[in-house]
């Protein structure tokens, strides 16, 4: 199917769902629209991640919301690493934002400083609990803190493995050679050992045209890959009694060493690649395995990449050749993610809430997650099973099944007070190890600093929040 057909299909899917929404006044989205009519003519300020996330809000939600309610949505945006910073700065400063995209790892901080408000009462008033129950299990805790709901998980960010079916599943010679060399069947890898074997096999046979694997390893991104591996290897972030950092445990050192050593089958220079470079390499056919955010899985089939704003995405040369699976370990990182929350300083909190309810509702969110450009990814049980979505391209069902498995078994980013400081330290340790420092030494340095951060925050205070995090099903599997 050609690119434009995919776009038309995605748009038609969304339109049909939108039309269905109007016809059925019982949906949560409709209730939000009806209640928001009284705010017609007002303006809401929305703060979201820059780039494609902002584009999704602009082209998909803001436009429809204005037509339905007469409420204008003004957008501001910031790079992903600056979102928390700009949100706090806005709260401490002039406070312009009404609706906020909040990364779940930083939600406790925003609640603790009073920057966002609980939405339970509005959920009761405007009947949102059924739609809320439809959110996949792993994401549900994202917006909850100390027994209250502070926002709606709105983006199924989870790592998904893309792999070349033509080289791995369908090539008889490769099957035979791999079996002879490694003693087991060549297939999409289920463990990190298998990932290493398959990637090495591909590099040995097809390099330098096609390498075994690549994934983003630039500063600011590697932590999302290591945090997953670390827990797969049995690692835990802290000793729950003393709150001493335990990243430098055996699990930490082994996982970091293995993570760094993955470079042996990666393309030259891949250690410096970010999300775009690693994704582009896969789309270009330069790599056979790629663990990444779900949007790339749609682009690999040239879905929704035909609008001007997506010109920077290279046309996929692997369309029709891509398989989807849960990354090795089976417990992929629920990396970053977004929760829609309401600013405590908003002058128009109810209208802001109604916009959040409408955009997060089953029908509206489905249309958005099927788009190529929005990089808002499926996060509801109903998204995974939607027949329209499952037929967007030939193996869209396989894609959704992998995301569903991720949504059920994924592990959440470390979520504690001032998580940003810990994330920064983890990232630095990984980068230092990639740069050649011994894994133990890098993690020892990071742990020393982490212990100091914990002491500064208060061991007891941090322990309470960490216990809440570690008690969640998606903290450790």
């Amino acid at each position: 199917m050609t690119t434009w057909r995919f776009s038309v299909a995605a748009a038609a899917l969304g339109m049909a769902l939108g039309a269905g929404q109007l016809a059925n006044a019982e949906t949560a989205g409709d209730r939000a629209v009806a209640a928001a009519q009284k705010y017609s003519g007002s303006t809401l300020s929305l703060h979201s991640e820059a780039g494609l996330q902002a584009l999704g809000w602009e082209l998909w939600n803001a436009k429809q919301w204005k037509e339905l309610t007469g409420i204008v949505v003004d957008q501001t945006s910031a790079p992903v690493n600056e979102m928390f910073v700009t949100t706090v700065q806005d709260f401490r400063g002039p406070a312009n934002f009404d609706v906020l995209d909040v990364a779940p790892a930083y939600l406790p901080d925003l609640v603790e400083i009073g920057a966002i408000v609980p939405v339970n009462d509005w959920m009761d008033e405007f009947g949102y609990w059924d739609d809320y129950a439809d959110i996949a299990e792993a994401y549900k805790g994202w917006g909850e803190y100390k027994g209250k709901v502070y926002g709606f998980p709105d983006d199924g960010d989870v790592h998904i493995m893309l792999y070349r079916k033509d080289l791995i599943d369908e090539d008889a010679d490769n099957q035979t050679e791999f079996k002879a060399k490694y003693g087991y069947k060549l297939a999409a890898p289920k463990t990190w050992k298998e990932w290493d074997d398959v990637a090495q096999f591909i590099t040995d046979k097809y390099g330098p045209e096609t390498f075994g694997a690549a994934q983003p390893r630039a500063k600011g991104l590697t932590l999302y890959y290591w945090m997953d591996m670390f827990r797969d290897y049995g690692g835990r972030y802290f000793d729950e009694e003393t709150m001493n950092c335990t990243w430098n445990s055996d699990a930490g050192v082994t996982s970091l060493t293995d993570f760094v050593n993955q470079r042996r089958y990666m393309p030259p220079g891949a250690d410096a690649w970010g999300f775009t470079e690693a994704g582009a390499a896969f789309l270009n056919g330069d790599t056979a395995l790629h663990s990444t955010w779900p949007g790339v899985g749609r682009w690999a089939q040239n879905v929704g990449t035909d609008i001007e704003a997506m010109n920077w995405v290279p046309p996929s040369k692997v369309e029709g050749k891509v398989g989807y699976a849960v990354p090795p370990g089976g417990t992929p990182e629920l990396a970053v993610g977004w929760v829609i929350s309401i600013s405590a300083k908003s002058d128009n909190q109810e209208a802001a809430y109604l916009f959040a309810q409408w955009s997060n509702s089953i029908e509206v969110s489905l249309g958005k997650t099927a788009l190529g450009y929005s990089i808002r990814d499926p996060f509801r049980v109903s998204h995974y099973s939607d027949p329209g979505f499952r037929n967007l391209w030939s193996n869209a069902g396989e894609y959704l099944d992998a995301l569903k498995a991720g949504g059920e078994n994924g592990v959440q980013d470390l979520t504690v007070i001032q998580a940003q400081k810990y994330h920064d330290l983890i990232d630095i340790a990984i980068q230092a190890a990639i740069g050649g420092e011994d894994a133990l030494s890098a993690l020892n340095t990071a742990c020393k600093s982490a212990d100091r951060v914990t002491k500064q925050i208060g061991v007891d205070r941090q322990r309470d929040v960490y216990k809440q995090f570690s008690a969640q099903a998606n903290a450790y599997r």
């Binding site: 706090v88 920064d424 980068q431 740069g435 890098a442």
Partner: protein
């Protein structure tokens, strides 16, 4: 009895004397006040903030004494960042100076197309450092960068250096970008200074049998030294503040290997919201730089 009465009692002559003595100060007072406010208030505020316990996360205005300074002296990452900044400064500054001086000396004579070449040489200095960082990061890209391709072509085998991650190469990349951008500044200043050296003196030295180096060290260098010193000072201060170029090329990595003090202060202040701790760092840096600059200015007696 008031002063005014005294003045009045002293007659018109006393009033004029009083005016002579103080009036000039009243005239410059507003300007001095503005300068003090603009220059000293932020320093004073940084000092006050550094003695408190301010963060954007907890609005705690309580006094913390010298706690952040104690923390600072135990913070290896801060001292390492200072070392990285110093390393870049002590390598880049002399290289920029020597390259600028050599080129300025070459451009002293009559050259065809001299204005055009001067404009071309100056181009890097007018480009925003973020753009320069991005350009050099691309130049050194392992896969697509022309430098890697060129080296592969010369060596006859594939060069697979990840320049911005490899600890051996990451500083050379930063230094090349930094020097490429800023040696033209040195060139421009020194060309102007050398052009103003009295040629009668250099000609006379030549006639007396002085060689090139003797003439340069005994006549030209002393003549341009005040200007050269100011150029060195400006560039040294710029290098101590180096942020954008390094941030774009390495973001301070790998690990914190290229994290300069301004990058660390940015992370502490704007990512970790440690307002008071950042204030302590800022104040310490201001004190250190002030001592160095004032001492240097005194030693060269630049005001003379």
């Amino acid at each position: 009895m008031t002063t005014a009465t005294t003045v009045a009692a002293g007659g018109p002559r006393a009033g004029i004397l009083l005016q002579d003595r103080n009036f000039k100060y009243w005239l410059i007072a507003p300007a001095v006040l503005v300068m003090l406010l603009v220059g000293l208030f932020p320093v004073g505020y940084a000092l006050v903030a550094s003695l408190q316990n301010l963060t954007l996360m907890d609005q705690d205005y309580s006094w913390y004494g010298f706690g952040w300074y104690e923390f600072l002296f135990e913070d290896d990452r801060f001292w390492e960042s200072l070392w990285h900044t110093g390393l870049i400064t002590v390598i880049a500054l002399p290289v920029e100076l020597i390259l600028g001086l050599l080129l300025a000396r070459m451009f002293l004579g009559d050259l065809r197309g001299k204005p055009f070449f001067i404009a071309v040489i100056l181009l890097p200095s007018v480009v925003c450092p973020i753009v320069v960082g991005a350009v050099w990061r691309l130049m050194f890209d392992t896969r697509y960068g022309p430098i890697t391709h060129f080296l592969s072509w010369i060596s006859g085998e594939t060069v697979e250096i990840t320049w911005v991650v490899d600890p051996v190469w990451v500083y050379p990349v930063i230094l090349i970008a930094e020097i490429w951008q800023w040696f033209p500044f040195m060139f421009l200043i020194l060309l102007a200074a050398l052009s103003n050296v009295d040629t009668d003196l250099t000609d006379a030295a030549s006639i007396d049998g002085a060689g090139f180096w003797t003439t340069f060290f005994r006549i030209s260098l002393p003549a341009i030294w005040p200007v050269m010193f100011i150029a060195i000072l400006i560039r040294a201060l710029d290098l101590v503040r180096i942020f954008d170029l390094v941030f774009v090329i390495t973001k301070g990595g790998p690990g914190t290997l290229t994290e300069t003090t301004p990058i660390y202060m940015y992370i502490t202040g704007f990512h970790q919201f440690e307002t008071s701790y950042t204030g302590a760092m800022v104040f310490l840096i201001i004190v250190l730089l002030s001592v160095i600059v004032v001492t240097a200015l005194r030693r060269v007696e630049i005001s003379r």
